[in-house]
């Protein structure tokens, strides 16, 4: 699917996750955050960068990983990205959400 954010066309899946990370920009992340009622702060962006680094390094994302990241503690993570922090933060970061095999 094609979605247009600030006049830029991006490829997303049915749930709105970017399917091509190379199309991601901070501006796009900011707009996706707004759609999820999140106003981005420096702390939010630190988490987003960490998530992008993990995914680029092919490391799986998990709450355990967040705990050990040194960027943020888990309660803070929930407070910054309410309603399922991993699924919301990955959407903003332009990477796939954590999945199982089906």
């Amino acid at each position: 699917m094609i979605k247009t954010i600030k006049q830029i066309a991006i490829n997303v899946n049915e749930e709105g996750y970017l399917t091509d990370f190379s199309q991601w920009t901070k501006e796009i992340g900011e707009e996706i955050a707004k759609e999820n009622n999140i106003e981005m702060t420096d702390k939010h962006w630190q988490v987003i960068s960490w998530i992008q680094e993990q995914v680029t390094a092919k490391k799986p994302l998990s709450i355990r990983g967040i705990k050990k990241s040194g960027v943020i503690d888990i309660k803070e993570f929930y407070a910054l990205f309410p309603g399922g922090p991993l699924k919301v933060s990955t959407k903003i970061a332009g990477v796939p959400k954590p999945k199982s095999c089906i």
Partner: protein
């Protein structure tokens, strides 16, 4: 004489011993396999033990029976891998290696969550990923008359990621058959965003939970078990109460990996996802649940990996470049209860879709669709496991790399 040492005589290690014994030149190579346990378990059978579908004898055999002649079997505890010096320290000595295959698997670590491995463990809190846990749960279920059953995943990755869902489906059938389904509330709790997280699977299978009246709690990252008040609690203090908690605890690689400094946070060994060579030591190869590759931790995956790994060991011995061949191929039957099952066949790139398997257009098995034949396929797999898979005999019509033939890929 050179030594090839296999650590672990589970599914992966046993298959590798069987593959390599006929392929490595006997005059140059000696193969050793090390495992501290005497019994080899058919782990997929642990799903059926709690529901009295299988009994103890159907899921266990003596491990030695499956190790071929010509391979030296050491039933000893592994203390440490000294990768710098190509040595494995065993409980009563040292084994040196020229090539090492790590096949030490993964296991549950209930101590990772506060209150889980507590005095309520195997009283109101159970696992079914161990033989002992599955049997204890069977005895509990035989007496269970009414209340809240919570089926729970602690965190990913776990061995056989669909098993907890299968457990919930089989529990629905089990209580239905006993005539007490209306007295048991079943809730499925996952740290992921849904019971099904892939687009096509959720579309095709989303109906299952509703049809079976199984409640769903998503995005639940457990912080602790309040075992006194029988509640699981997450990081935003959300609580779910249970009378019987069936959990899949954190899965971790063996502690020997941690002691040897060879693993990641969860003691899984960083491994090249296509060659299965260790990323840090070129004479170490890793297979099955012990790796950190993003494939499912499942016997079928180990089976497909074993074929690529056998070729790569021979290439390595002959100083030739390794094949970047393994594609994450996975093939799993998924029990949905009432004598039906699904079948999925997928890899790193391709998510499970509908279609026919293993013969395109014919089947007889159907992909991503419930059928009675798939259920018989799952039951027949126990025979395949003991008689073909462990011995390294290829499964007819099923190749190591996933085939796109017979799959409806253009949704």
């Amino acid at each position: 004489m050179k030594n090839l040492v296999i650590l672990g005589a589970g599914t992966s290690g046993t298959m590798m011993a069987n593959h390599l014994v006929s392929k490595l030149p006997k005059k140059d190579w000696k193969i050793h396999i090390v495992d501290q346990y005497k019994t080899h378990y058919y782990q997929p059978g642990f799903l059926f033990l709690p529901f009295d579908i299988y009994n103890e004898n159907q899921v266990r055999k003596e491990g030695k029976k499956f190790i071929p002649k010509g391979v030296e079997y050491h039933q000893l505890k592994i203390e440490k891998i000294d990768a710098e010096n190509n040595l494995v320290e065993l409980e009563n000595g040292v084994l040196s290696y020229d090539i090492l295959i790590i096949a030490t698997g993964s296991k549950i670590a209930p101590q990772e969550v506060e209150g889980m491995h507590s005095k309520a463990w195997r009283d109101t809190i159970f696992d079914f990923y161990t033989y002992e846990g599955a049997l204890a749960l069977r005895n509990k279920l035989r007496e269970f008359k009414e209340g809240k059953l919570v089926v729970h995943i602690t965190e990913m990755p776990i061995k056989c990621p669909v098993a907890p869902l299968e457990f919930a489906f089989l529990a629905d059938s089990y209580f239905d058959k006993k005539g007490i389904r209306d007295k048991v509330e079943i809730t499925y709790v996952t740290p992921l965003s849904g019971a099904f997280t892939k687009e096509y699977s959720s579309k095709k299978l989303g109906y299952l939970l509703e049809e079976k009246n199984i409640k769903l709690e998503t995005d639940f990252a457990i912080e602790r078990v309040d075992f006194e008040n029988k509640k699981i609690v997450d990081y935003i203090d959300k609580e779910i109460s249970y009378d019987l908690l069936v959990t899949v605890p954190t899965n971790m690689g063996d502690e020997v990996i941690e002691k040897s400094g060879l693993g990641d946070d969860l003691n899984f060994v960083p491994t090249h996802e296509k060659t299965l060579q260790s990323l840090e030591h070129e004479n170490i190869f890793v297979i099955g649940d012990a790796t950190n590759v993003p494939a499912s931790k499942a016997g079928s995956v180990a089976h497909f990996q074993s074929e690529t790994l056998t070729d790569n060991i021979l290439l390595y011995i002959n100083n030739k470049p390794l094949k970047e061949e393994f594609d994450g191929h996975s093939n799993c039957f998924i029990e949905t209860g009432k004598n039906k099952a699904l079948l999925i066949d997928f890899n790193y790139e391709q998510e499970p879709v509908t279609g026919t398997f293993p013969i395109a257009g014919i089947g007889p098995l159907k992909l991503l669709k419930e059928s009675v034949l798939n259920h018989w396929g799952k039951l027949a797999f126990r025979w395949v496991y003991w008689n073909l898979l462990l011995k390294g005999i290829p499964i007819p019509f099923v190749s190591r790399n996933m085939s796109t033939a017979g799959k409806n890929i253009n949704k």
